[in-house]
Assembly symmetry: C2
Homo-oligomer: 339 residues x 2
DNA sequence: TTTTAGCACTCGATTATGTCGTTTGCTAAT
DNA sequence: ATTAGCAAACGACATAATCGAGTGCTAAAA
């Protein structure tokens, strides 16, 4: 356990470093509130905090920098969560009240709003489609060889896709197909759209393969697509830690790895808001970054995940306040209730 | 007019510089084919080419670098267009034969294929929707307050959108709406979906505003959206000219400017393949880049544009060969005919 | 007249050297 | 327990020195 003054010193160092990105000297924080003592005293405290691994020194004659442990302590114990302004609250409300027609859109709007306010990069992924239950399927004949399939799920997700055939189809065929598919799939998990169903329809119900195969394949494809949406990808490049070309490239490459991003957003959701600091990230590539995530859900239905990625010295207080607010707004707001 | 040896020298310098990104010395090209003379002779030729503005010198004791004029001459007169390999041809064929269901998809596939083969960044934009003629409109009731609208155009473009209402709607209403919209819009340019139509339907045909307004607004919105698709955005960062953080950031920012990208792809289509070298670009921001574009079209119908963006010393021979090949494949291939 | 060998000169890149300022850690006094 | 004072550490920055690739010119050779 840290005594009161050590807490103050740690907090001051973390906050100063978050702001300046420069190692923090004993002088720099001497005048912080709650620290009315000389720089020498602070140096002693700093030496002890370093021994306890809350702080690190880039080299002998530099100031101190928080370690991952230091940030962690700060996030868990010291940070104040009211770092969201009235303007920001207003801005968020405006953004989220925009009428949207697709459930995925609201996640993206939330994501981009967070990026705008915090100036970090955000990632939004759509709901895990595997968990969805089919509520309804519509087939629409577009022309003699094209049909559109629309899948509605219990969470309000709408997936549509165009299906092309090698032979002409009729309005009548579409009708019976529609009936058939709804009959088999209504109330079923979306994963049922798969080979076995194709086999059943062809073998048992003696539909033509040429008809069924493209439908199943295309529907399966569109249902499995995962949507990843990046926002403010270039924002981090403005930060001083990305002044080295190496680091900048590394970051850009990370963003390119869709897989990694998806994985990153899908690890552990113990709490409402999840914070991973530097080495706490499972992925080696992310050890220089911090990540904060939350899930957009109604009840226990997953509607998508939003994550923010920034430097280890990210402004946790701000980020967490904003994300908590938006999370509440999204997850509380079920359909109605403004402001 | 350049004499034969000057052409050889210019060509050698351009090609060497394209490969190495280093100023080319008289020694370096001494042994190129067609240049069996001493470095001193080459130096004299280089001095003259510089006087004629085909070459530039970064500083006194460095080799030469092609000017925009030099590149232009190379592209127009010297470049050999057979720099596409059999493997590449095969790879392109495979990619393009993938069944796609959306006309826009094929443009994107072509775009990403080009990026993969050339290692530059490519941009694809969808067709100019304004020019499209409406062939058919379908309305599908999804649930009591949601409808999907599907618009088919003469070029095979399919645009769909979800429309939400504040009041319940019935299958019947959807039917009459469908009839009405098709009646008014079939054969009309897509730009007719606009305020005047809304006004007409509400005022003259006495439909409810609550019904018509969301439909028109949403359809208008989806029709006007321009799709811009980037591929290989980070590829250029590997090139030596992007080793300076300044340039790299600048490049990333350019890619961020969707407007700029769209503009860039929409300037002048005098030829099949259009090449803009450095300062030839209208936009100030692009003066350090070269851009090669072509239009995907069937007959005189615009189906989208594909552009490649790279350094001024881009491998024009390769890029142009590849783009010519793909362009022919896309624009020739109307629907059928494999290989 | 054209080509080429030879050579002085230019100039950026790289490396070495020196100086400065910040910050620490320790000691001794408070 | 705190603090003033001071030597030592060390990166950052500026300056100087060196190196070498490449040119342009001159004069000789073809």
């Amino acid at each position: 356990m840290l005594d009161e003054r050590k807490k103050r010193v740690l907090q001051a160092i973390v906050e100063e470093y978050i702001q300046t990105a420069e190692p923090v000297s004993s002088n720099a924080i001497m005048n912080c509130e709650g620290l009315e003592c000389s720089s020498a005293t602070i140096r002693n405290e700093m030496a002890e905090l370093e021994k306890m691994r809350y702080l690190e020194k880039p080299h002998t004659s530099a100031g101190r920098v928080p370690s991952a442990k230091g940030y962690r302590y700060y996030v868990d114990e010291l940070l104040q969560e009211d770092k969201i302004t009235l303007e920001e609250i207003k801005y968020i409300s405006e953004k989220l009240e925009n009428k949207v027609n697709q459930i995925e859109e609201i996640t993206q709007i939330a994501s981009s709003t967070i990026s705008e306010i915090t100036h970090y990069t955000t990632v939004a992924i759509g709901p895990n489609t595997n968990e969805q239950i089919i509520e309804n399927i519509r087939f629409v004949l577009l022309n003699s060889r094209m049909m559109m399939a629309v899948i509605l799920t219990d969470t309000g997700l709408v997936k549509e896709t165009i299906i092309k055939f090698d032979e002409d189809i009729t309005e009548n065929q579409v009708q019976t197909l529609s009936y058939m598919f709804n009959n088999k799939l209504k109330g079923q998990p979306i994963t049922k759209i798969d080979k076995p169903l194709e086999k059943y329809l062809v073998d048992e119900m003696s539909y033509s393969v040429n008809l069924i195969k493209p439908i199943i394949e295309q529907m399966k494809k569109v249902v499995e697509e995962e949507s990843i949406h990046l926002e403010g990808a270039t924002r981090l490049l403005e930060l001083p830690e990305f002044n080295s070309l190496e680091v900048a490239k590394n970051f850009v490459n990370i963003l390119d790895e869709k897989e990694l991003m998806a994985d990153m957003l899908n690890t552990g959701f113990a709490k409402d808001i999840n914070v991973y600091i530097g080495e706490e990230n499972e992925k080696e590539e992310l050890k220089d970054f911090s990540i904060v995530t939350f899930k957009h859900r109604i009840g226990n239905k997953d509607l998508g995940t939003i994550g923010i990625i920034g430097p280890k010295r990210m402004d946790y207080a701000k980020v967490i306040s904003v994300m908590k607010y938006i999370s509440k707004k999204l997850n509380g707001n079920d359909t109605k209730k403004d402001e």
